[in-house]
């Protein structure tokens, strides 16, 4: 029970929720505003994380430069994704994006010389060399921890520092996205979501807007990948399972289409579900082992997806007029 009171534990839960909030914001732009059913969003996360780690370890690029390049690579990927897929109908688009996500993961798994293969980033520089991509990050994190220490004293652990950094980034993302989505640009995206032909008839270059939405959304995905890499200090292709995409979907569907500020709330709900099963330490759950609790968690996530579709297809915080899934 002591875990319930542990600040480090809740900092970790909060930081992971924040990372998923950034990830889901990308999907919110693509799906909630533009109506694109991207089921391969996890690929942008993988591309962000791998681009950064490879540049730092193999090309000795400074961390900040590598991170910017990673976000750029994510956006390029999003743009490239749009070229072959945008004329597809929604369900075909969804299936194709899952397939593309799996192509990216397979590539990371099998191009060992570039990505380290199934062993992940520990194998990035070959087996003879210890590889760490996050040395600069750790020193930045301890600087932040120092500042926080002056503010809140001994509560400021490393996990707490990460929590603060992640949520500052979430806030910045929201502050960037809010004016963007309220601008004429954002209104065109919503027009495309509602009726693509009508938007085209008004002279809007639909494909170009969809490309931008996919690229920017993937940029957020890549940023989430960076944060994920910094939080866990190691990753492998297994971390980019197609399941991760559906975590983001759960968050966006809880939040409701085109509800930016509800995304962090959705992410916190997801974080609670994800870590909450840890506290099932009363009967009958005491008969279950750790693996079974993980399966139970997946069951709960599946049940919530179905329940949302059955009773609140507009999301917990969404408005029916905004959008109901067709």
């Amino acid at each position: 029970m002591s875990q319930l009171l542990s600040l480090d534990f809740w900092s970790l839960v909060g930081a992971v929720s924040g990372i998923y909030a950034v990830f889901a914001l990308g999907l919110q732009l693509q799906f909630g505003y533009t109506g694109l059913l991207n089921f391969g969003h996890v690929a942008s996360m993988a591309i962000g994380a791998y681009t950064m780690a490879i540049l730092v370890v193999k090309a000795h690029v400074p961390l900040w430069g590598a991170s910017l390049a990673a976000i750029g690579a994510g956006m390029l990927f999003g743009a490239a994704l749009s070229l072959p897929t945008l004329r597809l109908r929604a369900d075909y688009f969804a299936i194709t994006t899952i397939a593309i996500g799996e192509i990216v993961r397979y590539f990371a798994l099998n191009e060992q010389s570039l990505t380290g293969g199934p062993l992940g980033t520990s194998n990035l520089g070959g087996s003879t060399q210890v590889t760490e991509y996050n040395t600069d990050w750790l020193s930045f994190q301890s600087t932040v921890q120092g500042w926080l220490h002056d503010l809140v004293g001994h509560y400021a652990g490393t996990d707490f520092a990460m929590l603060v950094i992640v949520w500052v980034i979430v806030l910045l993302c929201l502050l960037v996205l809010t004016p963007m989505t309220r601008s004429p640009w954002g209104r065109v995206l919503r027009a495309i979501r509602e009726d693509e032909d009508a938007a085209a008839a008004l002279g809007k270059p639909v494909a170009w807007f969809k490309l931008q939405s996919l690229a920017i959304g993937a940029g957020f995905g890549a940023m989430a990948g960076l944060l994920y890499a910094f939080e866990f200090q190691f990753f492998s292709p297994d971390d980019f399972d197609p399941l991760i995409t559906f975590y983001a979907w759960l968050i966006v569907l809880i939040a409701g289409a085109a509800r930016l500020w509800a995304v962090p709330i959705g992410a916190l709900i997801f974080g609670l579900i994800f870590s909450g099963t840890r506290f099932f330490n009363f009967k009958p759950f005491t008969y279950l082992d750790a693996a079974q609790l993980a399966y139970l968690r997946l069951m709960i996530i599946g049940a919530i997806l179905i329940a949302l579709m059955a009773w609140r297809p507009q999301g917990l915080f969404g408005k029916r007029e905004e959008m109901v899934l067709e």
């Binding site: 072959p84 369900d91 397939a99 693996a291």
Partner: protein
């Protein structure tokens, strides 16, 4: 030449399994408009139902397969009653049904894992017994799989083409309203479709488990994307197309490794072939190879 023929045989093993699975997806999509993401987990369910009879209870494989067919059909019908029918009554459309099926996939897979664990299992069959015909090797499980699957494919195709049941399915796939007006009992037909789909899925899962030396609870999910690829290659909503798409995809996947084909694709990339075929077909002929343009 021997190498090429060997690859064709290997492709037939994979392709017949794809064809069975893809036909199931297509039969559900046509009349019900469900892009069933949980279909892979129906296959896993079938494979594990057979494992229960064959491994845990120690009975022979024929009995295990029949049990898997019945159990998976029962599962499919049960899910129709508790999930799909109420969702349709609520007026759920294609995209929310798609997401519902994703939730269902998670529930099914985690339930299977919950009950059966994540260990690898192998049916009690002799995987080392193999035959050699003119230098082409085929193991006994592979031979059995091809024979059973081809029979099932032929039976399914005949059922669709020649019986009133098949005609009713095709009518429903065209328009549920028109079929209903013409006197088709839609609710009863839907149950019959799920029985057929469940049996196809159960058989597909068992055969997929049989030809692999071992399998786990991801068996069906790993097959899901190639199955979708086969459905799309054949043209969505056309069960014949799905059967042919599955067979074709199996061939393409194996033949791509032929050394006469620019040295051959490294076999580790084989799973990617299905995805690439999927993307390529969508770009070149979005309605599928046999599909009609108006269905898009």
């Amino acid at each position: 030449m021997t190498e090429l023929l060997q690859l064709v045989v290997n492709g037939l093993v994979t392709g017949t399994i794809y064809a069975l699975g893809a036909a199931g997806i297509s039969l559900v999509f046509g009349p019900l408009r469900i892009v069933n993401f949980a279909q892979g987990d129906y296959l896993t369910f079938g494979a594990f139902a057979a494992a229960l009879v064959n491994i845990t209870w120690g009975r022979d494989m024929v009995l295990a397969t029949l049990f898997a067919l019945v159990a998976t059909a029962a599962l499919a019908v049960a899910i129709e009653f508790v999930l799909w029918r109420p969702m349709r009554r609520r007026g759920a459309k294609t995209m929310s049904l798609f997401i519902t099926s994703i939730g269902l996939a998670f529930i099914l897979r985690s339930s299977i894992l919950f009950v059966a664990g994540n260990g690898e299992r192998s049916y009690r069959v002799d995987v080392f017994q193999s035959y050699s015909i003119g230098g082409i090797r085929i193991s006994e499980p592979q031979l059995i799989s091809i024979t059973v699957a081809l029979t099932a494919i032929a039976a399914t195709a005949l059922l669709l083409a020649r019986t009133s049941f098949g005609r009713a399915i095709r009518a429903l796939a065209d328009s549920v309203e028109l079929a209903s007006v013409a006197g088709v009992d839609v609710d009863r037909m839907v149950i019959s479709i799920w029985i057929l789909v469940g049996m196809l899925a159960g058989l597909c899962g068992v055969l997929a488990g049989l030809v692999q030396s071992s399998f786990d609870a991801n068996l069906g999910f790993n097959l899901l994307l190639p199955l979708f690829a086969a459905v799309i290659v054949g043209g969505v909503g056309s069960p014949y197309g799905a059967l042919l798409g599955g067979l074709a995809l199996g061939q393409v996947q194996e033949l791509s490794t032929w050394s006469g084909f620019f040295g051959g694709v490294n076999p580790i990339w084989k799973p990617l072939i299905a995805f690439s075929v999927l993307v390529a077909v969508l770009l070149w002929r979005p309605q599928g190879l046999l599909g009609r343009a108006r269905t898009l």
